[in-house]
């Protein structure tokens, strides 16, 4: 056997290894392919045949075996290639945080106008109205690259300045963190757009103080937002939305903190859309008990373990504080944990999420349904594309 044959044999052996790997992986995915085939191929329609077949490929990407491992490999490759812009200009990595890339503005003028209309409405109704501007990730923990690819800071400045100049009561959470000399590296989750739980509770404490001064209704439970010894803390590894397509080798996962009250709590949640009511403790009513799920891992989205994702209109009642204030919060997920812990100091908080209004004027319904001591609009920039006042077509 000449050495040249060895050289060729190496190629053959390597090729066979590659072939066996591909075939083995394909066989490993037979249950996935079978399941996709069964659910899709039996329901093929002539009108949308091509689209349905293309959808199988998309579903396979999502359900292929070892997807997480491949994601980790992908993230590792990005790291090796020194790529800090991830996906198709979707995210940018800077200062150990992932940032969202948003190359175009939000067209926030319509939203600004609606906020001012709401303010006028509340002024006439003699109900204090507060606009709370969420913090800006790119300016606070990002850097030049993140700021270059995201207009949120300018947009937030515009919101705050315009509303302030037009007589709206504004709290800028950016200033809250700066004034308190808060460790900015601990404000945001590294892998997700949301804040860390401690930061959200900090905001809740500041909001509670401000609202108490505004409404004149002092809360005896204010200390619950300042002293965490009243809670049992549990921490879970967490991989947020900004990092789910780059995996663990690109950016280390977060540790998501949750604080469970160790004191007695008694709540009711009323879903105004379905009419359903849920009674129980803080964990049972305000939280969603993800910790009781069969599978808990770093992909469990703990952010929505609080409040009611996709529900446009519901009320949380705190039976242990019936003399407390009643608030209406118009918000998206930026306020999930903030408002959850704020509820411990209030009598009642009604939540409206404009992202899920779907044409129904829940704002007007909520304002006419119940009484409030204050109305708060709390958002970062994600509500700017939504209408507070929903109109029927043609109006």
């Amino acid at each position: 056997m000449t050495k040249k044959n060895i050289y060729d044999k190496i190629n053959i052996i390597a090729g066979m290894i590659l072939l066996i790997l591909v075939l083995a992986f394909a066989i490993y995915n037979i249950p996935v392919l079978y399941s996709l085939g069964k659910s899709n191929l039996v329901n093929l329609s002539r009108e949308n045949l091509q689209g349905q077949l293309a959808a199988i490929d998309v579903q396979l990407k999502q359900s292929v075996k070892c997807k997480n491992e491949f994601t980790d490999i992908y993230g590792f490759a990005q790291k090796v290639l020194n790529k800090f812009i991830i996906g198709n200009f979707e995210y940018l990595y800077e200062n150990e945080h992932m940032h969202r890339i948003q190359e175009y503005g939000y067209g926030e003028d319509a939203f600004l106008e609606e906020v001012q209309i709401l303010n006028q409405q509340m002024t006439q109704a003699e109900i204090p109205f507060l606009y709370v501007q969420g913090p800006n990730r790119e300016a606070m923990v990002g850097g030049e690259k993140a700021l270059e690819f995201n207009p949120d800071q300018q947009c937030m400045n515009k919101m705050v300045n315009t509303l302030t100049n037009n007589g709206v009561d504004v709290i800028d959470t950016r200033e809250i963190f700066y004034d308190a000399d808060y460790d900015l590296s601990k404000v945001f989750l590294h892998t997700d757009l949301h804040m860390q739980t401690d930061a959200e509770i900090f905001v809740a404490g500041k909001l509670a103080e401000y609202l108490a001064n505004k409404t004149g209704i002092q809360s005896e439970q204010q200390y619950l937002l300042e002293d965490m010894s009243y809670y049992e803390k549990k921490t879970y590894p967490f991989f947020g939305n900004y990092s789910r397509n780059v995996g663990k080798f690109y950016l280390k996962e977060d540790m998501f903190d949750m604080y469970y009250p160790t004191f007695d709590t008694n709540f009711t949640r009323i879903d105004h859309v379905t009419g359903a009511e849920v009674h129980g403790s803080f964990q049972e009513v305000v939280m969603n008990r993800y910790e009781n799920q069969d599978v808990i891992d770093e992909y469990t989205y703990w952010v929505t373990n609080y409040m009611q994702f996709m529900n446009p209109y519901y009320t949380i009642i705190n039976h242990n504080n019936e003399e407390g204030a009643k608030y209406l919060f118009i918000m998206d997920s930026i306020g999930y944990r903030t408002v959850s812990y704020l509820a411990l100091t209030a009598s009642e908080i009604t939540i409206l999420d404009p992202r899920f209004f779907n044409g129904t004027d829940y704002l007007s319904i909520a304002l006419s349904d119940r009484d409030y001591d204050a109305v708060v609009l709390y958002q970062g920039t994600f509500l700017l594309g939504n209408h507070l006042y929903q109109k029927e077509e043609g109006q």
Binding site: G15, L18, Q50, L60, V64, K67, I73, F84, G87, N88
Partner: protein, 473 residues
């Protein structure tokens, strides 16, 4: 389902290959035909019937052409060519033609039709035409069966994006009624596929995102000089790695089944001249036009005026083949001018100094780069503005902050891509004199291919953005 989709890599292809290996040899070719029809039907279910009808029609026409006298040959050839081109015209060019006629007359003289471009129609049509012309020239063996012709037309690795294969390339394997499995072909093929997938997913898609971002800018004062150059270079690399990657995948898979398709790319960006570039880029297409248009028209064995005419026709048709847009026609005619310049001046041959040759190579690359701007632009106006941006003539900045950031993001990928767009590996391989050096090279090469394949698959699964440029043709 394309060659880089997970459903193909982990579903269709392994299944197809395993069944092929298990089946008795006599029915393997028949199985490949069915697999190919299934592959095409998955992507284009509504067009399969047309293909089936054309297959039978072209086969019968080919038989008739082979057997007839010269007059009958020409009539049948012209008729079937007319039908093939007519279908291509209907799906690809009718609306463009109608829009331009209406523009000339200033009113709606012709109506647009509501059609979608069937997958690979240009490649399929040229394959049909190649078969007909080869039948006319007596190059199709008499024993060619309907099944063999079907496998030649529809073989799934090459049906949507080529290479545009001649029947002669595949005939020996097609005539083999009991094809055996060949371990070397299988292992070479899968490694070629892996390299192609890596080219497409890791390199082409990276550049695609950058190029598409800049091509989306409509306010040209916002497109800096650096941004426009970065975009054009990224597009040049995108299209190379996209198309050559696909060709590698197609050739690799075909080889696993015993078919040796033509090479389609030979390091085109290492070209010494425009003529040399077109002997390295999309080789199957340029050879198609050479053999079936240029040479039958007389090639360069005619008067100067006719040579120029022949060149003009070839490049006009090359541009038109790529798409129904004035930009493609301009792109083709741009190469006509360059090729005419080279033929008339013989400048590439006359330059003897190393510096001169290097400068001419750079000139070639620049011309190719500008040509890709024409190729990529949505219309001529946009192309014009884009080129003006490249020279800072649109009141645009020299460099903007975002471009600097984007460049920093892709610098490593860019350097690797530029390096391997040149024939570095063949050069290294040629330097391996001793067998131990060859063994080490082989080990490193194979490990690299394995790693690249795994990384490419991770891109497949994770990425939501996976365009195939030539799939639109």
């Amino acid at each position: 389902m394309d060659l880089s989709s997970p459903i193909f890599i982990f579903g269709f292809w392994p299944c197809c290959f395993l069944v092929y290996c298990i089946l008795p040899k006599r029915i393997r070719n028949a199985f490949l035909i069915l697999s190919s029809i299934f592959f095409y039907a998955w992507n284009e279910p509504g067009f399969v019937v047309y293909l089936a009808v054309m297959w039978i029609g072209i086969y019968i026409a080919g038989k008739c052409i082979s057997k007839m006298q010269i007059r009958g040959k020409r009539i049948v050839l012209c008729l079937t060519v007319f039908i093939c081109i007519g279908v291509l015209f209907y799906y690809k060019y009718l609306n463009f033609f109608a829009a331009n006629v209406n523009r000339i007359f200033g009113r709606d003289v012709l109506c647009a039709v509501d059609t979608e471009l069937p997958l690979g129609i240009s490649f399929i049509t040229f394959t049909f035409l190649a078969y007909l012309f080869d039948a006319y020239y007596g190059k199709i063996p008499e024993r060619t069966s309907l099944a063999n012709s079907g496998l030649y037309f529809f073989f799934f690795p090459k049906i949507s994006m080529g290479p545009i294969t001649r029947y002669g390339t595949m005939s020996e394997r097609l005539q083999n009624k009991a094809p055996k499995l060949n371990v070397e072909e299988i292992t070479d093929g899968i490694q070629r596929f892996a390299v192609g997938l890596a080219k497409k997913m890791i390199f082409s898609n990276t550049f695609a995102m950058v190029a598409d971002r800049y091509w989306g800018i409509t306010d040209f004062s916002n497109l800096s000089v650096a941004g426009s150059w970065l975009s054009s270079i990224c597009y040049s690399l995108q299209i190379y790695y996209d198309f050559s990657g696909y060709s590698d995948m197609a050739i690799g898979i075909a080889e696993m089944f015993g078919f040796h398709l033509e090479e389609n790319f030979k390091y085109p960006y290492a070209a010494k001249s425009i003529g040399d570039f077109w002997r390295r880029w999309h080789i199957s297409l340029s050879q198609w036009f050479r053999d079936y248009v240029y040479i039958p028209l007389g090639g360069n064995r005619v008067t100067l005026i006719k040579q120029i005419r022949n060149l003009f026709i070839v490049w006009l048709l090359t541009g038109i083949w790529h798409g129904a847009n004035w930009t493609f026609i301009a792109w083709g005619l741009f190469y006509f001018v360059l090729q005419l310049f080279e033929k008339r001046t013989e400048l590439p041959k006359r330059i003897s100094s190393v510096w001169g040759k290097s400068i001419y190579r750079l000139f070639t690359l620049l011309c190719v780069n500008f040509a890709w701007v024409l190729f990529r632009a949505p219309d001529l106006r946009h192309a014009g503005h884009f080129i003006l941006c490249m020279f800072g003539l649109q009141n645009n900045l020299l460099i903007d902050a975002k471009t600097a950031i984007i460049f920093g993001n892709i610098i490593i990928v860019l350097l690797i891509a530029v390096l391997f767009a040149l024939p570095i590996l063949p050069w290294i391989s040629s330097k391996m004199k001793s067998n131990s050096a060859k063994i080490i090279y082989s080990i490193i090469k194979n490990i690299t291919i394995l790693i690249l394949f795994v990384v490419a698959v991770s891109y497949c699964i994770n990425s939501t953005y996976n365009p195939f440029i030539y799939q639109d043709f």
